[in-house]
Amino acid sequence: MDALIGFLTALLWIAAVIVAAAGVAWVFKTVAIALAPAGVAKVLRTAPLTANFGIIVIIVYVTVAILAPLIAPYGEREVVGGEYLPWSTTHLLGTDNLGRDMLTRLIYGARNTVGIAFVTTGLAFALGSILGLLAATVGGWLDQLLSRIVDILMAIPSLIFALLLLTIVGTSVVNMILVIALIDSTRVYRLARAVAMNIVVMDYVEAARLRGEGLWRLIVREILPNASAPLVAEFGLRFCFVFLMISALSFLGLGIQPPTADWGSMVRDNATLITFGDITPLLPAGAIALLTVGVNFVVDWMLHRASGLKE
């Protein structure tokens, strides 16, 4: 009976959250359309509520990450009281397993976890797209060589491969960034190469080649602009994957190391509270989920727009 009531209240909560989110998204959309310049407003008008919600989430996270020291009530590594204190006015979300303020850690986590995921995705993208475009433009043995290497690297599931590489190089933040960037760049390479392959055969690229443009200029000035739309959407998707992978590794204790505040390890360190019916450890996990949901909503809309699909 208790379980049923618990389940029903949970359902009620979910419904309430969805309604609230839709409301916030609607307000944001109306305000943004009114304030934005005509061109942007026109695009925003076509955006579904989910995409607006995603944009709000991203804006909030970025603001919190940048302003972390100003918002956070305590220092990131400061021990401020007893262990596992409940929620109170001095510690809004209580304290963690070492007596550090939970809310503060959560806010700094935005900076660390999201920041590291962003850097990693950026690296993976730089590596993957440059090699992918290069392979498509140059073709021949270079294309064959790179593609076969990527095929092999992709034949091993990514988390397993990451674990293997981390065992070899040792667990640290820098190693984790490099390992994940390497693994994810293979996925970016595949897409960049596939997209560029269709562009390389076009007449204007042929003309540019005959005009004597150099390889670098050909890639950056001629091919990249036409390949950017799918690549940007892919960046969003990749970010989600990288973000989830970093969280998973940190959760397993193999990623971002203490005392740096990070959402994955926060869940791990405070997980015991859940069995006592305290939802605090779910908050960092929820923060991860919310950001990925937001980014996915925005990407979904961008892909929809790019493909010209009108249902």
């Binding site: 091993i156 070899i168 989600c240 397993l252 069995t275």
Partner: protein, 318 residues
């Protein structure tokens, strides 16, 4: 006719074997790229050169790389993965029971997830653009975005808190099947929730793609009911992409299982691997990676063969 199918399957198998061989090379070779020396690293800086040399001999590190690789591969083929670096026990003993547990969990999750995803996907395609479809779309997009441990802890919070299901999936070898199913219900449910979303979305997309084709329109014009059109006419042609995405997600189960096993303290291969990574027990990690990679390659291979078999145009080639 039949011969060409066998030929195709043999070809794919051969290709799969080559892939596995290259993967084994990669897994073995990655360790070779390690700057420094395993023996030195294991014994620490204070070890004398003599002890390091003795330890190297014991590990077989004094042999050239290709010889060690052949020894290792020869052992692996016979089911002998060597000894653990951390505690010296044979890896085969460490893995034996755990591999079965992991497979059990993955199969359990798949048995729930695959039918569920297919039914939901077909329903979403049938009632596309309705509220049902939109609700499922938002729900699945969200559950793709959730980290596995978030789903796991939510389930623990709601289902284990009240004592309905155990939050720690402890299983003993002599447990009955019913007891095992009960004890591993939460981890299996977590995996199901994580995997179903993607499979369902792809099923829906594959069927909707087909609904635009002329023969479906013909069926509709002659007055067939929408449900019958989808099940009788669209589904057989959508099988190939669906089989592929099912296999892809079963392969994803393999990775998802690692995190879920840790959350539920389930004695499986994934947990062993995570423990070994933090201990830097390279030989165990190598063995576990190889097994996971094997399962991954095999699943993809099966999908390849099955989706070809589901297409009569490829089976009865002229």
């Amino acid at each position: 006719m039949v011969n060409s199918i066998w030929l195709m399957i043999a070809q794919r198998l051969g290709l799969g074997l080559v892939t596995l061989f290259v993967i084994s090379l990669l897994i073995f070779g990655a360790v070779e790229l390690l700057p420094g020396d395993i023996a030195q690293e294991m014994l620490g800086q204070s070890a004398t050169p003599e002890t390091v040399a003795a330890f190297r001999r014991e590990l077989g590190l004094d042999l050239p790389a290709h010889e060690r690789y052949l020894n290792w591969l020869g052992g692996v083929v016979q089911g002998d993965f060597g000894n653990s670096l951390a505690n010296g026990r044979p890896i085969t003993d460490l893995i034996a029971g755990r591999l079965g547990n992991t497979l059990f969990l993955a199969l359990y999750a798949a048995a729930i997830a695959v039918p569920l995803a297919l039914v939901l996907g077909i329903l979403a395609a049938l009632y596309r653009n309705s509220w049902f479809d939109r609700a499922i779309n938002v729900f699945t997009l969200s559950s793709i975005s959730f980290p596995e441990f978030f789903v796991a802890y939510i389930l623990i919070f709601y289902l284990a808190q009240s004592g309905l299901f155990p939050s720690i999936a402890k299983i003993t070898p002599d447990a009955t099947l019913g007891e095992k199913l009960y004890r591993t219900f939460l981890p299996a449910l977590t995996l199901t929730l994580v995997v179903t979303a993607h499979m369902m979305r792809m099923t829906r997309a594959a069927i909707i793609n087909l609904l635009a084709s002329p023969y479906i329109e013909m069926a509709r014009l002659k007055g067939m009911s929408p449900g019958r059109i989808i099940v009788k006419h669209a589904l057989p042609n959508a099988l190939a992409p669906i089989i592929n995405v099912v296999a892809l997600n079963l392969a994803y189960l393999i990775t998802g299982v690692v995190v879920v096993e840790v959350v539920f303290v389930y004695p499986g291969l994934g947990q062993l691997m995570v423990d070994s990574v933090s201990k830097r027990d390279i030989t165990v990690v190598q063995a576990a990676s190889l097994i996971f990679a094997c399962a991954y390659v095999l699943l993809n291979l099966t999908a390849d063969v099955l989706s070809t078999l589901s297409n009569p145009r490829l089976v009865h080639k002229r």
